[in-house]
Assembly symmetry: C2
Homo-oligomer: 122 residues x 2
Amino acid sequence: MLGYRRARDELVADCPLRAATDLLAHRWDPVVLLALGVGARRRVDLRADIGGVSDKALTESLRRLVRNGLVGRAEYPAAPPRVEYALTALGKSLVAGPMRALGDWVTEHGHELLAAQGDPEE
Amino acid sequence: MLGYRRARDELVADCPLRAATDLLAHRWDPVVLLALGVGARRRVDLRADIGGVSDKALTESLRRLVRNGLVGRAEYPAAPPRVEYALTALGKSLVAGPMRALGDWVTEHGHELLAAQGDPEE
């Protein structure tokens, strides 16, 4: 199965699946990952690519993604130094696997989701 | 692709992918979905199944999942009425698709994630 049971009949909040869902829980992180899916990018390019992200939010997102090993930061000699961000192998595997599965799901079922959310609440 | 571009070269925070990642962003929601993957459950059974969830957190999670059309609530005549929660077809598709992909990814790459998170931060 999904490896989420620590012991028989016990589901836990800190199950491995949580570690994966946490990676996608922050507002901008999936968007930044998608933007980097195209290739390595400078910060200024990312800001231009991504509509509506603030400088602070982009900084925090990149820091989190680097800390989680999904994105790498490379400095190239220049004046001022050229800094680029790129997906790591781990980041690429997250984009190609779970994020694509989420994208496919929402393409297929997004209208059902919106219909449900539009219904009057209980 | 993932259908996340509203216009050429513009990535947006409210892209359809966000609607899907939002579904998994709350702490207990993926755990409750997994617990219901086994079959319909009463609240009291869910509380017993899930380690460490408070009554309030479970209530909020079930309400969100029902509102998003992932979980259905059924009342059966009895005294007091028997209430059961179960995955809807939409909920089943989310568990079988994206959540399984996340589970598979973390099974394969979880150690890399933990290794990255354990490295001293920049």
